[in-house]
Subunit: 608 residues, 2 copies
Amino acid sequence: MVSSLKRLLIGRPLKSTELGEQKLNKTKALAILSSDALSSVAYGPEQILIVLITVSTAAFWYSLPIAIGVLILLTALILSYRQIIFAYPHGGGAYVVSKENLGVNYGLIAGGSLLVDYILTVAVSVSAGTDALTSAFPSLHEHNVIIAIIFVLFITTLNLRGVTESASILAYPVYLFVLALLILIGVGIYNIITGHAPANLHTPVGTPIAGISLFLLLKAFASGSSALTGVEAISNAIPNFKDPAPNNAAKTLMAMGGLLALLFSGIVYLAYYYGITPSETVTVVSQIAEETFGRSFMYFFIQGTTALILILAANTGYTAFPLLAVNLANDKFIPRMFKLRGDRLGYSNGIIVLGLASILLIILFKGKTEHLIPLYAIGVFIPFTLSQTGMMLKWIHEKPNGWVSKFIINTTGALISLIVTMMFFLTKFAQVWPVLVFLPIIIFVFYRINKHYEAVGEQLRILSNEPAVPIEGNVMIIPVAGITQVVENSLNYAKSLGSDQILAVYVSFDREEEKKFEEKWKKWQPNVRLVTLHSHYRSIMNPLGKFIDTVHHKASESNYRVTVIIPQFIPRKGWHNILHNQSGLLIKAFLLYRKDVIITTVPYHFKK
Amino acid sequence: MVSSLKRLLIGRPLKSTELGEQKLNKTKALAILSSDALSSVAYGPEQILIVLITVSTAAFWYSLPIAIGVLILLTALILSYRQIIFAYPHGGGAYVVSKENLGVNYGLIAGGSLLVDYILTVAVSVSAGTDALTSAFPSLHEHNVIIAIIFVLFITTLNLRGVTESASILAYPVYLFVLALLILIGVGIYNIITGHAPANLHTPVGTPIAGISLFLLLKAFASGSSALTGVEAISNAIPNFKDPAPNNAAKTLMAMGGLLALLFSGIVYLAYYYGITPSETVTVVSQIAEETFGRSFMYFFIQGTTALILILAANTGYTAFPLLAVNLANDKFIPRMFKLRGDRLGYSNGIIVLGLASILLIILFKGKTEHLIPLYAIGVFIPFTLSQTGMMLKWIHEKPNGWVSKFIINTTGALISLIVTMMFFLTKFAQVWPVLVFLPIIIFVFYRINKHYEAVGEQLRILSNEPAVPIEGNVMIIPVAGITQVVENSLNYAKSLGSDQILAVYVSFDREEEKKFEEKWKKWQPNVRLVTLHSHYRSIMNPLGKFIDTVHHKASESNYRVTVIIPQFIPRKGWHNILHNQSGLLIKAFLLYRKDVIITTVPYHFKK
């Protein structure tokens, strides 16, 4: 039943050879890998205005030069990640770049912060989208948490079905959002050019403003840069592209950069020209849309696609997280299970862990994840800075043809990213300090896991110069609870192994019963030695454990191995198990983890 | 840590030989086994008045003859259960009596309804007590369910500590309640004799009342008889008494009967004399107490001990349920686990199941379990009727000395109990119908369980005339995942068992890797045959399962047994387990329940 539910939800399992068909073409890849970055346009420009308004609305003209700064950073990042894609065509992005060029520690800082970041992406974007949706239907507002969780479960299931299927479904809303914003910007600009828009609502560019400071401008710039989160996703997800993967990924990245630049600058310009003031209740995009179209169909179309894209931004996390996890798992910093491909060839453990972790965050913050946004932004800018710095070092070391221009691109990117990172720490410390706690903890855990895997590898390795101690013989211990077919079955098996040392062990709670049993045994199996252990405290485990210790001690002296043979009957129906005391299972679990003995289960399947 | 918490809660484990010290003397037994019956005094008389008031308050004088009827029933029940105690000194009460004399079906009806009844006892009495308590502290009222659950957990823990310890603690409130009611009745009667009580509040006995009917009187009688629930508990719990157990139990039963008769008739009489009218907000006992003492210390003392005894009435269930369960388990009608004695020599599984089931009821009914009372009353009167009828047949069959008087006692008891049972069905069908659904289901389950145990017993039995097929040899299959110490360890073990048929099996997901592995293996273990299985769907279980089936099929033809040897490394720390994929455990679980092969785990304990 579980299995057929699984089939219904995620579809039939795929052969490993079908992996090629699970690759993305550029159109689909652009949709699912840039939804995070593109959705940032919905709140990035607003962030700039929110900072500027602390001086005065007259200061809004500064949003134009700040936007140019953001565009420069965007260009640097896009060009830089384009270089990363070709330099590291197997994906892994900032983690791999930092690790290779700056050392393992920096790699782990980048990888750890991105790993956490993708969880935040999912939680924050789904919460924001749910909020946008329930604002339209206020009666649903109290069910925000449940609705958000349902969205996460939906996106998780979609991703478990495979990356192409989710891309096919999710591509429409992304392109509709892009279309909606392009129409908005186009009509807006047309109105301005044709003079249909009121021109007196904004201060001209260059108006001197009292009280403006470089610090404030940098703060506004850093806030605006939050629109750039998600730019790195493509570099993590190169293995998901159709061949030639790096070329396709690079082209997709350029397309995303172009779209992002266009939408971002368009929104900033319209907001400036219309003199829009950020408000607690209505978003900047909503104000621009209302100004342009009134409360018409287009207005609701823009609002609807915006809500959708906010939710779907989560999907970028679902594509990038599992691939980053594979890279970390290959280097033995996180559990191996992240390397397993599921039925539909996706890295399902990564997808499931991401889904569960973000559901946990949504529940913990009761769906109010807005104040996680700065944390989420800094979690991207730390890896941005590290990966660009890593690329700088790479060019210096390798000096390929035309390395100077590449070096300049990465240096620009690194410097601006560093400034943004520092601005976040300086201006929003109250919200971003957790990163200083979590990153060291995560890196500590990475190292602990790595140490364990290294230790395991060492202990598993076969050392040819150290021959194993030969096994001289085997002692077989059979715990028996009665004189039954199940026990006979096990005894016959033990005898068939040709061991000369078979010990039946009977744990008794009652002296009288004990004697009776011993007599019966002598008649039944006169050749098999029976050891009776009396248990004062009615525990089977304790006396049995002590007895096994004694036997084990003696056996080791002459290089004998000890095998405990457990006779176990298997009822025909699952519910029958509660009718039996399962001593067999308990003994097995106890012996496996506590004693150095071999455990053999001889099953006896009931026929009725 | 779990273990030390357990020690703290329930104390050190006791040796089986300390069982004698866990027996109850008469004083303690009276306290914990009669709390249920005695607590009924707090609501039984009220039930009579509630029925009579439907005619008029003038009809209240009928409560006196009705009370006499209840006393006759009580006498019959007490004498009858006294005879049951001596006839069945190993306990089991109504279940054993009905089973032996009326047949298994009637025994199961009696046993099944008592089993459910004790769960109801706990839920109903704890809820009622909690209600009484929170009526005094209204701010606690909204936390009723939580408080009730805490009481259940407390009583459960106390009982897990052992019956003597719970008796020592719980005896005080019971005797304080008896003392409080005795003082109340004494002072009340004294006031009446000395003329301090107003005499004009009641209609004289014998006043003709219009509209009274036999049906109504019988209904009032049945309701009043609910004060007799719990009378049977002592007969279930004989094994808990100090030797000579039957004598001590009989004396305790008589003492309980005497006390119950005294308190019941006292309360009925005072209620009649004071002309007390039942009210929704104040109980009859509370009205009598206020009439007698005003709102003095004595009033609050009576109210407080009443609330306490209502909660502690639950304890009777805790003493009787596990012993009844042992009887049913001995006859293989419920799971064997109810026969196991816990660390403190109590039947802890019974205690825990009772606690959990009543918590479930409290949660399901949100702490409002009042309308379960009729269900609970009928659940006692069905076994009353059956056990008395059983005793009647016993006397007829065995005809011991003086059997006629014994027969008369049981016949009286059986008839009155039958009338009460029928009155419940006639007058409160809306509340008692579930018994007609649950009893058949429970009895069906009893038989299903019994059938399974019988089938198991038959299959386990050794038939000397049918010699087992001899085992000609063993095929050993070792699933391997690499060339490691763990695998070497398992191979050496397989070789030491002298099998000529060792097959290493490697499940591969990747054709290239497969070839490499085969080559490496040939160099490492040229004498052990390696079988490579390619898994298209990246499942280990499916190809392995199919391979094992093939081998098993061939092996069976020549009476070979198949053993699957699982190399398993055991990490040194628990958390390390999540770093490994646990394929070993999964393969074991799969093979154990699905295939007829022997499963051997060769552990390899890591040292770091």
